[in-house]
Symmetry: C2
Subunit: 128 residues, 2 copies
């Protein structure tokens, strides 16, 4: 069901932040102690699922994301919306506001952004 398992996601997070790395490097950045071989079994699975790609440099492989963080985010958000917010982004916002996840400061900032007070990169090329 889920796009990534817990362990796979831990690996992807590191690759999304740090870019191309070899297993030993990922291992260092890992959020908990993990054996090199355990980590590599995640990489093997991610490679099979084509969520990462790799290239050989010298004797080692360097891995990098093949799935963008953005699309993983969309996927995860979609599932969160369907479970808790009636499936809509608007529902999420209502939820956020009612549950006070948004502080007054954030609401103001939000208002500023909504008003167009910030450069919204893709604002022009709307519609997917």
């Amino acid at each position: 069901m889920a796009e990534f398992t817990k362990g796979e996601l831990e690996v992807m997070r590191i690759l999304w932040v740090h870019g191309e790395m070899k297993p030993a490097g990922i291992q260092e950045k890992f959020p908990r102690r993990i054996k090199n071989s355990a980590l590599r079994s995640y990489l093997t699975i991610l490679l099979e699922k084509e969520h990462v790609s790799r290239r050989k440099v010298g004797k080692a492989y360097f891995y990098k994301p093949a799935t963008h963080q953005e699309s993983a985010f969309r996927h995860t958000l979609r599932s969160l919306l369907e479970t808790f917010c009636g499936g809509t982004t608007e529902g999420l916002l209502v939820h956020l506001i009612k549950s006070e996840k948004l502080s007054e400061k954030e609401l103001l900032e939000l208002k500023r952004v909504a008003d167009g007070g910030e450069s919204s990169p893709k604002a022009e090329e709307r519609r997917e």
Copy 2:
């Protein structure tokens, strides 16, 4: 790690929406075909984890949520924020806007809400 597994969450969603139910009822509402005994094994686990409670009526048990949808939402959102949005709600909003999850209409609605144009139930009783 996760608060709920996939199957457990499917059960909780139904209980959050429909309130107190017995297994046969949950089974009917289930998003996919599932055997009564498989469903009940989820309920047993949820009972152990104290995410649901039950009371006997006649020969049957009626189950209801013991964990609020709201707190499960917070938990899930927290994990999403940490993975994708630098841990902040504000980061989520920027993400939403840049990724065009928010339509023009939603931005306007959002602005209206942010402006205080809607009755925001808990707006008064701020601070937890």
